[in-house]
């Protein structure tokens, strides 16, 4: 029986691929695609009359399939449904890494889920605090409350914007260039950064329009997102490549790290690089860049 190591709250999450938890053909080898995270879906992908079966499928998959380094997150059913509490019991007992709260609208929603996770961890003898959370922001209200949501729980590692329902609520359609999502995306990234958590862009719905997908992925990277949701394995490579740091970014990051190490050794209190003063968060960011470059396989240096 598989027991997964304690999940890391902050780790590389460039790609999060959704798959229906009720489909054994999909989840049996979900780790071979090499996405950073998979999201086993108990919500939209699962028909209303199969919610119960999907949990048994999820539980047994977690207990016997070794997903290795691939992070396993489960999208549970919305808090307005009769399913979410049992979803949480199942996830915690099965030892998943994290729970994605669908249609999260307020800090209260996060706290509700957190309370249910707390009690499930006690019930099933799981280390308290082990199960991570992320919030999916899918409505104007959820996005307005993004900062409160992002700071509502220590378990919460990030938030994702989910555009399908959001566009409907806003009475807009998907537009080339993404102007209809512009404010929402900006708000979500800013809230996540202010709260010190990660943020993830929505999935691209039209699998045939590759150019559209690529443009949106690049835009998400430029806006500051940490990664993107996916539904199709064909999209993984592009997302990984886009969210990987460029050689120029790596070179600058290396310079920051080297200079920090030198100055730290010499006990200087104020840090400068090329004669300019540099604040501590810049160094943290540089380390993150190097780390990501290593994980993406584009780092060839010696740090």
């Amino acid at each position: 029986m598989i027991t997964r190591p304690k999940p890391e709250k902050f780790r590389l999450r460039r790609s999060m691929m959704f798959m229906n938890a009720q489909k054994p053909g999909l989840i049996k080898d979900a780790y071979i695609y090499g996405t950073d995270s998979i999201i086993l879906d108990l919500e939209d992908a699962v028909a209303e009359n199969q919610k119960d079966m999907a949990r048994f499928s999820l539980y047994n998959a977690m207990k016997s399939i070794d997903y290795g380094d691939t992070e396993v997150i489960v999208r549970i059913n919305g808090l307005e449904t009769p399913h979410w509490q049992e979803d949480i019991r199942c996830c915690v007992a099965a030892g998943v890494d994290g729970i994605r709260i669908a249609k999260c609208e307020s800090a209260d929603d996060v706290k509700k889920v957190e309370a249910a996770v707390d009690s499930a961890e006690k019930e099933f003898g799981v280390e308290e605090g082990r199960t991570l959370l992320m919030a999916a922001l899918e409505s104007p209200l959820g996005i307005m409350n993004a900062y409160q949501i992002c700071t509502a729980s220590d378990r919460l590692f990030g938030c994702a914007i989910s555009a399908g329902d959001f566009r409907k609520s806003m009475h807009v359609k998907i537009e080339k260039g993404g102007i209809e999502m512009f404010t929402a995306r900006g708000q979500v990234v800013m809230a996540a950064r202010a709260a010190g958590v990660q943020c993830f862009d929505t999935m691209w719905p039209n699998i045939d329009d590759e150019a559209g997908f690529e443009a949106e992925t690049i835009q998400a990277k430029k806006l500051g997102f940490d990664g993107k949701s996916l539904v199709n394995p064909r999209q993984i490579a592009f997302v990984h490549q886009t969210f990987a740091p460029t050689q120029k970014e790596i070179a600058y990051a290396e310079k920051l790290v080297r200079s920090f190490n030198e100055q730290a050794d010499s006990g200087v209190g104020v840090y400068t690089v090329d004669g300019k003063m540099v604040d501590i968060p810049f160094f943290e960011d540089a380390r993150r860049t190097i780390d990501m470059a290593k994980k993406t396989g584009v780092y060839h240096g010696d740090l």
Partner: protein, 99 residues
């Protein structure tokens, strides 16, 4: 658990198994259809019987159509069918006891 009514779990899709259960007075009956019955029939049967034993199911008629499912999938479908037949699949599952 007691098999109280007919129930079905799973699908006929590749890598899945469809398990139908009916009440049977005091008997445990297993019917397996699988394209890999020759190679894996014994293993499939073993997984089903272990799962039923763990759920303390003593009687019932089981029809299994295997489409190349992993053991964990067969186990999930057996558990699903049994819990459904006992009208207990929706909530308060004893997850920890499912082994």
């Amino acid at each position: 658990m007691e098999i109280k009514k007919n129930a079905v779990a799973g699908t006929l899709e590749s890598s899945d198994a469809q398990i139908t259960v009916e009440p049977a007075q005091g008997k445990l009956e297993l019917n397996i259809q699988s394209s890999v019955l020759n190679q894996y029939g014994r293993q499939i049967k073993k997984v089903i019987l272990e799962t039923l034993d763990n759920l303390d199911v003593k009687s019932g008629r089981f029809y299994v159509v295997d489409k190349g499912a992993l053991d964990c999938t067969i186990k999930a479908r057996v558990e699903g069918a049994v819990y459904r037949s006992a009208d207990a699949a929706e909530k308060d599952i004893k997850w920890g006891a499912l082994k």
